[in-house]
Symmetry: C2
Amino acid sequence: MQEFTLDERLERDSICLANLGLTQLRLMKDGRWPWLIAVPRRADVTEVFELAPLDQTMLTFEVNEAAKALKGVTGAEKINIAMIGNQVRQLHVHIVARFSGDPNWPGPIWGYGEPVFHTGDTMKMLAVKITEAMSDQ
Amino acid sequence: MQEFTLDERLERDSICLANLGLTQLRLMKDGRWPWLIAVPRRADVTEVFELAPLDQTMLTFEVNEAAKALKGVTGAEKINIAMIGNQVRQLHVHIVARFSGDPNWPGPIWGYGEPVFHTGDTMKMLAVKITEAMSDQ
């Protein structure tokens, strides 16, 4: 069985918050939207239905917990959740906090404009709040 | 308990393929991409984590079965799955077959350009194939 290795682009674009039961939960460095990704720690999976059935359920559980925490922390108007992967094929789930009037609202965030990176402080604060919110649930 | 009523815009933009255990599976009339939506038949749900835990699992199961069928029928290069809902707040899951070079590839489909409707025949054929593929699984 091949070992899980995080895709280089996902690694470069985000920082690790926690290793959950199945996924590695990460915070994107692009600060235009509060934006998490959850990456199942399984080798060679591109489509969600390639995961074993129990992993599919675990993924749902972990993504939905993260979404709930992100909504609580940010007060987002809407959470956007997506598995796209047209460019990075390693299965990963986007979990994004959206607000009326944010960049490209109400359109999608993917492929829109150029990243505007968090400062170290705002990223650290967001990381701490999300991690705390998830352990409180 | 309030009864489920399909959002008017979702109803206008798509046709019903099947009522599954939890969701109504629908085919979008926009033929630029083979594009399904799955709508949980629950009243007043906007975010996926508002569903009861068993419904969350059912949703995953039904969406992933539909995604697998769509991939099998279309030979898509990548399936895109998303819950956005910035405009239509009734919880619905997009399941889209994507191909290199399709409109806006590798970007997202949402908010891109104007719909190009299926002809009745291509839509009917796609509907039949997807329904058959799902009952074969």
